[in-house]
């Protein structure tokens, strides 16, 4: 029991990063609380601050859950943990306990808010309701993450596709009751059920695979010509693959699969179930398209950063030249990914029905987010969950969130500062990336192959 409790707490406080995240979430919550109280005093003007801060706080909380879920997965993939008896049972129970504690803490904090600004349709009113919603939401989220980064591509895609129709029936969330049972209860039950199913598989399964290992299994490489030019040799070394086109194609294929499946589900739902009630909402599918280049560029830039060490001695180039090559490669990938995907998103925004909010704003946010993601990728020398990238993404999400709630046209105009801010941030990141590369100390980023989960090689 002691071990379980300890592992539960460890999921939130193991690394220094997690502790800082907790602190940040707490501070943001306090700030949002203060802003909400202040906003109450002057009911005429609607400021976006409480929503922005609330959004950022929710973002930080999401990141904490995300990080703990990732940590859970990473620890499970270690061989040594596999050998310890009952370790996985302990980890599973510990994770559940961690979410329980987090939900209780969240509910407690929300009670502090009181009924200052009850946001229906979210209905944070009662203690029990809040607790159940937090618990159900966190558990479902964790399980979804495990499945999406899971052992097989098909399972991941199917899972996402099953979750996608929620984008259609968003009205379900807006009602206080689902099928006669209070909504909070339903969510909590769904979360617990999902967790039990997952935990059963997790404890019984023979060998939990490393996260994302299914995605790194490459197909047989086509016979590459044995005479390569120096430039292409440098590129191959940076990417770890035979060409940039291949890497980009892999990324595009992955995301297009998601996109097409979700589109199909939505079309199917529209045609078969909700025919008379309301038009299908394709915003989720479009969001996937807009989100894809951001992640793809970040991934490719990260690969190039980690490949740079190989080139230091072999190629004879200086650090400046290596940086220039890697940056050029990353920008090329941005063009290769961005043009088709953003273009398709633009077309779909024009021609597909989507939720009332102005998707062009979201598109602008995503486009301006991409250079920032690129430079963050170039800075990602260690193969780990890219928290700065998530933080940047959460800033964007907060902007989107705020946009949902701000009604006044003046407020909406003000919000267009967000894309500009993102571009400014990416310029700062560019300077940071250059400085880091020009004086890079690879000793600090030595490949941690022995303990990293991606090291499980298949024969």
């Amino acid at each position: 029991m002691n071990g379980v409790l300890r592992s539960a707490l460890q999921f939130y406080t193991r690394t220094r990063r997690q502790r800082w995240l907790l602190l940040a979430a707490l501070l943001l919550f306090v700030a949002a609380l203060v802003a909400a109280r202040l906003a109450c005093r002057c009911p005429r003007s609607v400021t976006p601050w409480p929503f922005l801060l609330g959004g950022l706080c929710a973002g930080a909380a999401t990141m904490i859950t995300l990080y703990s879920a990732w940590d859970f997965r990473r620890i499970s993939a270690l061989r040594t943990v596999f050998l310890i008896p009952h370790s996985r049972l302990q980890l599973a129970v510990g994770m559940f306990l961690a979410q329980l504690i987090a939900a209780a803490a969240g509910a407690g904090l929300m009670m502090l808010v009181g009924h200052a600004q009850p946001l229906s349709p979210l209905a944070w009113g009662s203690p029990r309701g809040t607790f159940e919603m937090l618990l159900g939401g966190a558990l479902s989220f964790v399980v979804l993450l495990q499945v999406v980064t899971g052992p097989s591509r098909i399972l991941s895609v199917v899972a996402l596709a099953l979750v996608a129709p929620l984008g259609v029936r968003v009205d379900l969330f807006m009602r206080p009751e689902i099928f006669g049972i209070p909504k909070a209860d339903v969510l909590a039950l769904a979360g617990i059920l999902a967790w039990l199913l997952f935990a059963a598989w997790y404890v019984i399964a023979w060998r939990p695979t490393a996260p994302l290992s299914a995605w790194s299994r490459g197909r047989e490489s086509a016979a590459a010509p044995l005479q390569v030019s120096r430039q292409s040799a440098i590129r191959v070394y940076l990417l770890g693959q035979t060409s940039l086109l291949r890497v980009s194609r892999q990324q595009i294929t992955t995301w297009m699969i998601y996109h097409v499946v979700i589109l199909a589900m939505l079309v199917g739902t529209q045609m078969l179930i909700a025919r008379h009630n309301f038009p299908a909402n394709y915003s989720m599918a479009i969001f996937i398209l807009m989100y894809a280049p951001v992640v793809g560029v970040n991934t490719i830039a990260g690969i190039a950063a980690r490949g740079s060490r190989r080139l230091w001695l072999c190629s004879g180039e200086t650090r400046k030249v290596l940086y220039a090559t890697a940056a050029r490669l990353a920008w090329q990938s941005m063009a290769l990914l961005g043009i088709p995907l953003f273009g398709l998103a633009l077309i779909e925004i024009r021609f597909l029905p989507h939720a009332g909010s102005d998707m062009l704003f979201s598109l602008a946010i995503c486009i301006t987010l991409t250079p920032g993601a690129l430079y963050l990728g170039l800075l990602n020398f260690r193969r780990r969950l890219n928290l700065p990238f998530l933080a940047l993404y959460m800033v964007a999400v907060a902007a989107l969130f705020a946009e949902l709630f701000v009604e006044s046209p003046r407020g909406k105009q003000l919000l267009w500062i967000a894309p500009v801010a993102l571009v400014a941030i990416s310029c700062v990141l560019r300077a940071l990336a250059r400085r880091r590369w020009y004086g890079i100390d690879w000793l600090q980023f030595r490949a941690e192959r022995e303990t990293a989960p991606f090291a499980l090689r298949r024969v």
């Binding site: 490489s221 005479q227 390569v228 070394y237 230091w312 200086t318 000793l443 490949a447 090689r457 298949r458």
Partner: protein
């Protein structure tokens, strides 16, 4: 140790090299030279700083203090020509998993202006390195062999190897050592390798560096090391004092009339001196490198 000409013939030249990471000094005050034509073995416990030293030497990492020069050039800013004279086999290989062995070799050949196809072909045959399978499915030993090939192809003047034979079976290790000796035969070529396998070092190294907690506790000839470090057993007529205060003693154990110590600056004449001083029967035991290493870390 040569302090002489700065332009000189030293292949590697370290002066008061220090490296601090996160407040911890992983290398301190290392000053040593390597002359061309030597095979230097780097010995040390895990975490003593071997790989860090190699990283700083080859320019992967800037020194926090002091200087590191390779072929006369500063390590952190090695020019392309100098890098072309260096071959490096890292401890954890940096092979590309999705390529085949042949493709990986072709890549390296493209990056270097010189590439000895004949040498590579011969070694592929002798070492039985599979070239047609993806690197992802090769065993640890095969990967290591391939990584070593990549470092030899461009005929480097300086070969740096970090634990080069740890995954190899004894036959493969012997083949590898033989090749290393052939390479080092040329007086212009130098080899630096760090290893745990002390017996390999005793075979092929002419010089030994022993690194402990980031400091060089010995840098010199292997033969001199073996001749300087001996275990001395004294059997005296009268009980010996607990603290014998003998110069150069690394460890000492006393038990009544019997004392055993390890001395690090042995000369044959000292046997007579010690016998006279303590009125004891003095026997000498010469220590192999592994024993020496253990005694220096006791």
């Amino acid at each position: 140790m040569n302090n002489g000409d700065a332009s000189g013939s030293a292949v590697i030249s370290l002066r008061e090299l220090g490296k601090v990471i996160g407040g911890k000094a992983i290398l301190s005050n290392i000053s040593v030279d390597i002359e061309p034509g030597s095979i230097v073995g780097l010995l040390g416990k895990n975490g003593a700083g071997k790989t860090s030293l190699i990283d700083v030497l080859l320019g992967f990492s800037p020194p926090s203090s002091g200087s590191s020069r390779v072929f006369g050039e500063s390590s952190f800013n090695l020019p392309a020509a100098t890098k072309g004279r260096i071959g490096f086999v890292p401890q954890q290989d940096e092979l590309l998993d999705s390529l085949t062995g042949a493709q990986q070799l072709a890549l390296n050949a493209a990056l270097h202006p010189v590439w000895d196809e004949g040498l590579i072909a011969r070694l592929i045959r002798e070492w039985e390195v599979p070239l047609d399978r993806k690197i992802q499915v090769l065993s640890g030993g095969e990967r290591q062999k391939l990584a070593t090939l990549l470092a030899l192809g461009h005929e480097p003047d300086l070969l740096v190897l970090d634990e080069p034979a740890s995954s190899l079976d004894p036959v493969a290790r012997r083949q590898f050592l033989r090749e290393l000796l052939e390479i080092a035969e040329s007086p212009t070529r130098t080899v630096l390798f760090s290893t745990h396998i002390v017996s390999d070092l005793e075979r092929v190294a002419s010089k030994v560096w022993i690194i402990r907690d980031g400091r060089l506790v010995w840098a010199g000839d292997l033969d001199t090391l073996k001749e300087s470090v001996v275990r001395v057993t004294l059997l005296a007529r009268d009980p010996v004092p607990a603290n014998l205060s003998i110069d150069g003693a690394v460890s000492q154990r006393t038990d009544g009339r019997r004392a055993q110590l390890v001395l690090t600056d042995w000369r044959d004449a000292r046997q007579r001196e010690l016998a006279d001083r303590f009125g004891a029967d003095v026997t000498i035991e010469r220590l192999g490198l592994e024993e020496i290493f253990l005694e220096l870390h006791a």
